[in-house]
Structures are given as C-alpha cells and as structure tokens.
Symmetry: C2
Subunit: 677 residues, 2 copies
C-alpha cells in the first residue's frame, strides 16, 4: 500500500496537465517513463480484430466506424448506448466495482467488493464504450470513461501489476498455480487489453493501453513464461490469448504473439488435474483437443485465441483442431438459438446431443464467444458456414440476453421455461456480471461484423439497412448502401458505389436457411446463388450499381437430429435468421387456463406471417394451426398414449425467441411438440 499511496502523492504533486496524467507514464527509478512497446500511431478507423497484417487471414474486417446502421440493429444499438451502457455503469458503481480502485488510492473506505473477476466487468464496459466512441461522438460518455480510466491506471503498481483483488492479504497468492487456475488474474488483464485497444482505436488516447503494455512488458514477460527462471503460466479462464494477439496486431511487437502461443501450448512443468484441463479448456497443447467440453465460455474464448494464433502463424495443427472442434459444435453441441453450454453444472458443454431445453444453460457470454470464434474462422476461410453460425447466435442466443428496454440481462438463455419454477431469467444485476457488458460490447461493435475485404473485393456478411464508407484493399474508395427490412423481410437492395469504375468481386452471402434466392445486378438475374455460400459477383462496378437479393423467408419447421432425445417429436420454427418460440401469454388456450405443454403443432398446417409494429418493439408474429390436448388429471404416468381424438383445434402464436420474457412471466417453448395426424 505504501507504494500506491506514494504514487498517488507523486501524481497529485505533479503539475502535469490532465492529458499527460492520462498518458500514465512509466515509473523507473522513481521516474515515470513511456513503455518500450508503443502502439501503432495510426489508431483511426480500425476494425474489431485487425487482420490487416495477418498472413493467414483471407478476409479483413471493415472498421466499426465505417458502417452506419439505420435498420433493425439501429434501435437495439440506440438502446445499448442510451440505456444499457449508462445503467450498467451505475449498477457496477453501486456494487463497488469502482470503489475497488478508489480504495487503493485512499479515496474510499469501502471493503473490496465482488468476485475476483470484478475488474474485468469494468474493462468490458470500457471496451463497449470504445466501440461506441468509434462510431459516434458521445462527449459525456467519453468524459465518464476517461475519468474511470484515470482511476484504474492510478492503481497500477510500479511492477506493472494491476488488479484490485490480489492485494493486501491476498497479495501472496498472486500468480500462484492455484490462483492462475481459478483466480482470473490474466482473464482480467485480457479484458483490460481488449478494452484498452478498443478505447485507443476510438480516441487515440494510449493511457489505458500503455498501462496494459506495462503489465505485460514489466510484470508478466520478465517473470512468467517458458524460461528456466520463469514461473509457468496457465490461463485458467482463456481470454488473455486473444487479447495478447490483438495487442500484437496493435503494436507489431511479436513477443505478444509468442507469449499467446506459449500459453495456448500449455506448460508441462505444472501438473494440472485432468478435470481442470477439461473445465478450464487450457493447460495442454491446444492441438490436442478433440472435442468441445468443460466450461463453455472458457472453451469458446480458447477457440478464439487459437484461431487468432492460426491467423498469424498458419500452424496447420491448429487449423485441423479448430475445424474438428467446429464440426463438433455444429453436429453435436449447438442450440438452434446459436447458444452453447448444456449444463448449469460447471456451466459446461454436455455430451454429444445433450441439449436440454428448460435446463439449457446457454450463457449469453458463451453465445457471444461462439460468434467471436466464428467471425475469426470466417476471416481465415471466407466460408459462409461460419457466418451462418454467427448470425444464428447474434439474432437469437445473444439477442435474447438483453431486454427490450436494455436494462435487464439474461445469464442463462433456456429454450423452455415454466414460471412455476420461480426462476427469474432477466435481471438488472448479477454478482458475476460478465454477461451484461459482454452483450453491450457486442452490440456496440456490431457494424464491424457487417463486411470484410479480401484481395479481390468485398464480402457482405450481414444484412441490415446501413451505409458502408470504406475502401477496397487496393485503396479504391467504396460505398455500399443497404436498403432492407431484414430480418422481417428477405429483400435487400445494395447500392454499390466505388469511387471510380473498378473491377472487383462482391461476395454476397446466401444464408443456409434460404432455399430459394433471386439475385439481380441492375435488374439482370445472376445465377449460381447457393444456400450457405457466398455468391461471387465479379464485374466492373460503377457508382450506383444495384444488387438485389431476394431471400426465401418462408417459415420453416425444423427438426433436431434423432439423437437429441429431448427434441424427439418436437419442431422449432425459424423464419429468416430468427428462431421463434411459443410464449404462454399469447396462446388462446392459455387464456382458457390450459397448460402450454398440452399444445401441439399440426405438422401439415400452414403458418401465417404478420408484422406487429406495436408489439415487443415491432416483430413478426407467426400463427400456426395446432391442437389443445385433453388435460391430464394430474397423473405423472398413465396407461395408453393419447389418441387423435382427444383434442380441439386452436391457433398457436409464435414470437421471436429473443423477445421472450419481456412481458409478465409466462411459460415458453422453442421446441413445440407436434402431431403428425
């Protein structure tokens, strides 16, 4: 503490201007100097992941600031900026997340509050603000964030160490093996670096980033790593890997990439319990993984880091592993909502095909990790199968994680719900509040996932009314305007305007769910569109060229693989990228006091589609013919199986899954039992 207090006195006694204080100079022999590694000076107009120098990236993301969204996502993003981000900061402040920093400067007498990973919540929030500031000037928000960053960097120790939990009595625990396994020190720093990079790319202010570099340069690298005099590293909760690689991308200093590679490989000097190797999804060489297992968020973040490592190194063992894990994901582990993580126990992946509905864990953070991973796989390949998974997670399992008013969050995202259980799924605060700022950073960064460039053109990944102002990789300026009412309608008109007439390829994503597609360029049909692929349209483009895409928005009944035992005899409804659910409050039968579980969908019924502008923020609602089965007299088991006669006709009303639980508590089902007859 004496170091910290003297540092505070030092800072208070200087006459440095606020800007200089923010630059958080480095301390050496009592003097503060800048860190050795410096971020690239061209901080402006950077993407979420900067693949511009990544040799194994086929695609490069377009900056967040290059895309202005005006359609479907605009309202969610407006809520995010105006409601979620400010109210979440208030929640975090109220729950002591900032006094943890203030007490270390003697500004607060509150005790340490929150779990050991609480610092990361502030950092993730800062990252969200970074993306907001990349897109738009928000002077008030910037002021709050600047001040917060000042409080955070002020408690960095001369050694470079920065953490509000492992201090005082807990100081001896720092970076011990057990602490590394469960203590989230490097997880915190990973989120710190991601927040710092996003903030730097928004403002050019290196204050937070420089302090992060000092943590890595001064504290971590000299003392921890593979060297004989160094202590091993195990990341415990993967996150540091991808952040170190983004730090490499931000500074050009290869040591960060090498450190990430070392961590991904694991260090055999430490013996780690087999159960921890499964749970933590780290501690053995990443290429030894053969399936998704253990803690779902850890596994997804590890896959992100490993894909980032592949994108920089091209290590074929990594790619082979990543491809195998992705196959495991889509064949055995992925909820129809794009969520992952079947088990509350260990917040974990289950066995293959273990996808319970009411008990689904489907943590919002895991769905986000899934999207982040697939975005990286997409960059490596340009293959639309990864975009399909991204989109599925985004519109459903991530989107469900924030209420329409932006102030309530899901931790779990189950696919069925019964209010009699007493569970409250949407809450303003969780003591482990990882999910809320994670959703906030995702929505804030979303424009950065719309497009990528490649050597030969531009990829269109996501459809929404929007305007992109960017350039091709050869420097030719390019503007693309999307007009669409996606995801409610399947027609998209893209106006492609290069700065000058220019030959390049527009890669148009054809979603795997769209069976029939009509593509036209300036009114003329283009052949070759295949579901689940990018349609390459190569020509000389002139300003104002129009690409029209008409996707197949017919509602589709989905069935799960027969091995998903809980979904046998049930169907899910998807229309476009949106997965639907049945909520009790909407069912006529429910209004008559009947149980949601007694409703059956008629397999051969025709689904009616209508848009309800006043309902749940404006959504498409589906109506599907069904039956009300005769209520059972309370018996758990009875002889015989209900025959076709015991039912009356009804209409089932389905709403988008992501808006469930925005009204009174009500039963909900994504997978709806059907009747063949």
């Amino acid at each position: 503490m004496s170091d910290l207090v003297s540092r505070r006195n030092f800072l208070a006694s200087t006459t440095l201007a606020a800007a200089a204080v923010l630059a958080a100079p480095r301390r050496a022999h009592g003097m503060l100097v800048a860190p050795e590694t410096k971020p690239f000076a061209d901080w402006k107009m950077k993407p979420v992941m900067d693949f511009s120098r990544s040799p194994y990236a086929k695609l490069r993301q377009v900056p967040v600031a290059a895309v202005t969204v005006t359609g479907y996502w605009a309202s969610r993003r407006k809520t995010n900026v105006e409601s979620s981000i400010p109210s979440m900061r208030e929640e975090m402040v109220q729950h002591g997340r900032m006094t943890n920093f203030e007490r270390m400067q003697g500004k607060s007498k509150e005790p340490q509050k929150g779990p050991m990973y609480s610092d990361s919540d502030m950092y993730k929030w800062t990252e969200a603000v970074g993306y907001v500031l990349q897109s738009e000037a928000q002077p008030d928000l910037r002021k709050v964030a600047d001040a917060q960053i000042r409080e955070i960097v002020a408690v960095q120790e001369p050694s470079g160490y920065l953490n509000t939990y492992y201090i005082e009595d807990r100081k001896p625990l720092r970076m011990q093996q057990h602490t590394q396994e469960v203590g989230h020190e490097l997880y915190n720093m990973g989120h710190y670096l991601q927040g710092a990079i996003a903030y730097y790319r928004a403002t050019g202010d290196p204050t937070m980033l420089n302090a992060g570099i000092r943590f890595v340069d001064d504290f971590l690298l000299p003392n921890y790593g593979p060297g004989a005099t160094q202590t091993p590293i195990v990341s415990g909760h993967p996150e540091i890997e991808m952040s170190l690689i983004e730090l490499y991308r931000t500074t050009g200093n290869k040591k960060y990439l090498e450190l990430a590679g070392y961590i991904l490989h694991g260090d055999t000097r430490w013996t780690i319990k087999p159960s921890a190797i499964v749970y933590m999804y780290c501690g053995i060489p990443f290429p030894q993984r053969t399936k998704l297992e253990g803690h779902a968020v850890r596994a997804m973040y590890a896959c992100c880091g490993a894909t980032d490592y592949y994108l920089e190194t091209g290590d074929p063992a990594y790619w082979k592993t990543l491809e195998g894990l992705w196959q495991d994901l889509v064949k055995h582990q992925l909820y129809v909502t794009g969520g992952v993580g079947a088990r509350a126990e260990g917040e974990a992946f289950g066995d293959a095909y273990e996808l319970p509905n009411a008990r689904a864990y489907g943590e919002s953070c895991a769905a986000i990790g899934n999207m982040m991973w697939n975005a990286r796989m997409l960059a490596a390949t340009g293959e639309a199968r990864f975009t399909d998974v991204m989109e599925r997670a985004l519109y459903n399992g991530i989107n469900s994680g924030m209420s329409l008013d932006g102030k309530l969050y899901c931790y779990r995202n189950p696919l069925a719900f019964e209010p009699a259980t007493g569970d409250v799924i949407r809450n303003p605060w969780y003591d482990t509040t990882c999910c809320p700022p994670n959703i906030e950073r995702t929505f804030a960064s979303l424009p950065g996932y719309f497009y990528s460039t490649s050597k030969d053109g531009i990829y269109v990944h996501l459809y929404d009314a929007s305007e992109m102002n960017w350039h091709l990789e050869d420097g030719t300026g390019l503007k693309i305007v999307q007009k669409t009412e996606y995801p409610w309608k399947g027609d998209v008109e893209l106006t492609v305007s290069p700065a000058k007439p220019h030959e390049f390829t527009v890669y148009l994503r054809i979603p795997s769910w769209s069976a029939k597609n009509d593509v036209r360029v300036n009114g003329k049909a283009v052949d070759g569109a295949k579901p689940g692929e990018y349609l390459a349209i190569r020509r000389t483009w002139n300003a104002g060229d129009k690409v029209e895409l008409a996707m197949d928005m017919a509602p589709r009944l989905l069935q799960a693989n027969a091995a998903v035992m809980e979904d046998v005899g049930k169907a899910a409804m998807q229309r476009g990228p949106v997965v639907f659910c049945m909520e009790g409050v909407d069912q006529r039968a429910q209004n008559q006091g009947l149980n949601l579980s007694n409703l059956r969908a008629d397999l051969k019924g025709e689904t009616k589609v209508r848009f309800e502008p006043e309902m749940l923020g404006g959504v498409v609602v589906l109506e599907h013919p069904g039956r009300v089965m005769t209520e059972q007299a309370g018996d758990l088991y009875r002889v015989g199986v209900a025959g076709a006669g015991e039912n009356t006709a009804t209409m089932l009303t389905l709403i988008p899954y992501y808006v469930w639980a925005n009204r009174a508590p009500s039963a909900m089902q994504v997978w709806i039992p059907f009747r063949e007859a």
Copy 2:
C-alpha cells in the same frame, strides 16, 4: 490419542473373556460400566422397523426371519450374501475403511482414508449382515462382523464420541455448525445405530448397540440440544432422526424420540443459509416443507424420520406435510423406475416434471430412501398407493443398482444411455460408496417388507414364492405359503394356515397396474378387487385355505404427463411391476449399424411376451413392432419433419430395465419414441 492408547492397553491387559470384551462396557472414572439405557431383552424375531409399540402405526411389519423367500428374490438375495456382501467388505478393507479404525488403536500406520462419511459404509454393511444373520446362520460372516465390531467399538472415546475422521487435527471441528452441516458426524452415527440395532436383533449381542447408546447418552444428549447450555443440532444429512426413533423403539427410552423431534424441528439459534436449508432438507421445522427439493437422499431420509416421528406421536402437522410431499413425489418427481433425483448438480430433485432420462441422477440410495419412506407411510395408513411406489422402486430403480453377479453397483440410474459418452455406470467401487452397502442392506432386509399385521388380520404387500411363519396380533400362529412365478407371471396361490380355525382379514394387495384381477378363495370367486387397493377378505380361515390371485400381466405402454417435456412423443413399457427398456445390443437394427435413436415403436403394435431362462439370469423379454427411421446425415437440425414414408419395419426387443448394462456397453432407452401412424 493417549486416551485411546491407554484404553487399548487397558483392554489388552484385562483377563476378560472375548465375550465380555465384545460387550464393550462403559468407562467411568477409569472403569468400564454398562450404559444406563438398555435395549429390550427380547431381541429375537424383530422386524426392520419395530412398530409394535407405535401408537399411530396401523400396520406392524413382520420380522425378516419370519419369511423365507424361495422365488424371484431368492436368487438376488443369494448373490447378495455370497457375492456382494463379502466382496464389498473386501473392497472397503482394501480402501482403508477398516484401517481408519485400526490406526486409532495403533494397529495400522496407514493415513486416514476416504471421505468424512466413510465410517457409515462399514455400518451400513454391518446392518446388511445383521439382516442376513436374522434370516440364516452364517457363522463365517458372523465371525468377520464380530471382529469388525470389536475394532469399531475399541476406538470409542471415553466421552462416547466415535468417528475416525474428526480426530487429531480435525478434532476441533467436531460438531461445529459448519461440521454439522457438511461433516456427516450424526449421519455416521445414524447408520451406526441402524447397523447396531439390526445386529442386535440378529444376535442378541449388544456390543455395538451399547456403544451407540453411549454416544447418544454420554456425548450427544448432555451437550447438544435445545437447552440454554447446549449447542444446537442440525443433522446436515438427515439419517440420525430415523435411527434415534428406532433406538427409542429398541430401548423404550423416550428421550431418543424427543431428540429426534427436536432435530426434525430445527433450532432457530443457528442461522442456516436458505440454499443449505433446501440442499440439506433440514434446519427448519419439518412441517414447513411444501415440496421435495434439494439433495434427494437427504430429503428421502428426512421424510423417513418425519414419518417415524408421526408414527410415534400422531402429530397432525407432520402428517399433513408428509401427505403433501408424497403428492409432490408421485405427481411431479417420480421416475417411472421409482427412482428420484433429476439433477447431478447437488444430487437433487429438479423442478416439477423435470425428469431427464440420460442425465437422470436417480441415485440408488435415493430410490432406497423412497422405498423406506413409502414403507413407513404404508404402516401409517394401510393404503396400497404407498406399496405401489415401494414395489416400483424395488423392482426397477433399486434393483438396477446391483449387477447380476452382485459385484458391480450403480450410483446413478439413468433412464437412457449412450456409450459414446464414456460414462461407466456399473462399478465395483466408488470412493463415496454409500449405494453398494445400501442395496445390500435392502436386499438382506427384503423379507421384512412382505407382510404386515394389523389389529384385524394380515396384509400381503409383496408377491414372491415364499413361506411366512408368524402370528396374528392376537397371538394366533399363522403360516402363509405363496406359490407364484411373479414377477414374470401374474398368478399367485397363497395357502393360508392359521394354527387353529380363526376369523380374521387377509388384505390382499391389488397393484395399481393390474387392470383386471381375479381373486378366489378355495376356488370361489371373491368380488371387490380394485387396482391400487387392498382387497379385504374376512372370514374364518382354516389351515390350508387357498387364495388365488390372477393379476393382469398385459404389457402396458405408459405415457408421461405432457408437462414432462423430455417424454413427449415417447412411451415406456411396463409389465407387472417390471419396467422395460430397449438396449442397443438386442436390436436387429443395431446389428446393422443403425442408431438406437432412430428406432420408433408403433403405437398400435401388439407386444409379444416370452420368458428367456438363459438370458440375463432368466427374464421376460418383450418384442414390439417398430420402425427404423432413415438415418440423418449428421446434421443437428434440418428443415422439415420426418414423414411416414422414411422408415422400414423392424421388431424392437425390450428387456427389464434392472438388467441393463450387464453385457457389453450399449445404448439404452426406457422412454421410446413412438409413431402414431
């Protein structure tokens, strides 16, 4: 330790005969004297639960030794005595369960081994041996058990305390609140007392029982309880309650009943976390419970203790609660196998209707607890609904817990299984080895659950080839011989032979699953048999009178309540008391490399029944028409729902659930998806 060592020296230096040493006299001022409370001297021919003086017991169990079983259960019980009990003792010895006692006498240098509840495993094993010795002379087994008891009582401390875990460094933790909540001290003593009582009732040797009485009289009662100078008690893992009440029944000393009542009521002086009150199923007054929740074994044992308390006190608040909890059990929480406990997480009851199949926990101990509870509810009421649950658990969810060779045990008893998960369900040993000796004591005590007496006659609960030699409550000798091939055939011939012609009622259980029943006395039809009730046949009975019962053994397709979302579109097959399952190894389709999950049962198909004497110890096998659905190409989700055309006919082979996993690892399903068409 010095106390213990000096005690050992004292014992070694005495010239007392072995019998006198076994009597384990009490120590007072350096002298060993008998405990104040003494068990009733008439130890012979006692039942499992001695309701003979219980004012609110309508029925009284018939002693284990009064019934000789020669039919279905005889072979399981023979395996139990000849294979399970000896091999389990070897396993326990190998895993240090006895060196824990020996090291406290300086006879072993091994460290303490096993979890904190390891002593209880030896006690439960001793209880099993007690029931065996009640039924039959097994001199070798008795010798081993006698020696083991000698080792156990030798480590009792002068204070009366007896436990091999809370010694040395852990001694200060004894009976602290946290230890009481999680440490199983009283759980261990509960099993000790049950073991001691069963052994006393087998042999008349009070050695073990007296030491248990000393634990309660000298250590527990003076120091723990409601008094101002006493430390509160929370049982942590309920078990002590029912054992104290059986101790009351064994000694007539009401203080044990009062202590059990105090524990069941909870002590408000200690604040217990709400989550612990749920998990432990204790810590608040039992009558405040409104549903089954938390750890399933704890809840079932708590219900046993509470029912025992009702049987002695008639407290209407207890009965109201027990009836409500029982309704919760049969309406929301009971697996079709009689197992309970849906969740591995917390080994817990789930929400209402939460009954997953592959992930079912269904711990063997919980199914046993369920049977033990229902046997008590039956004693309170004479109502056959409780016998129905007992029988369902016994033939299925308990019976499955031990392999046919008696050497492998299930901890979990799932209702579906996929070998690709890598789970190994049957194992010779678990470090928490609660289930194996629990199954052993259940099978050993089973004859004690066949009959009860009432004021006006005799109740026949369970059917199996057997001979009962006992007497009515008025003292009239009574022999009943059952001839039957139950559970494979539904015909039972009971020869009722009172010692002299005598008027009394034979209460014949009509199982709830038997829709049509034919009852005859000496060939003459008797009306009034109703499924799920006891048929009262009152008459003057003469030696050799024959009662014939023909039950309805038609295989029955069962469906679960629509609210059990995992069982929608699936059916289970039951025949008599036996629940069936489909095991992959038996399916023709499986032999062609098809997946069990692609099989469908035809709802309207006719089930064929055959007895296979050479298969799995001799079982009925069912064949039911079904379909092999077209295998999916590995997709997790696909558009459209499989139509009627995509299948080929097959025959599904079903075996009794309890014999699953006795061959090569194979997929298994109790709930089989059906097709209406």
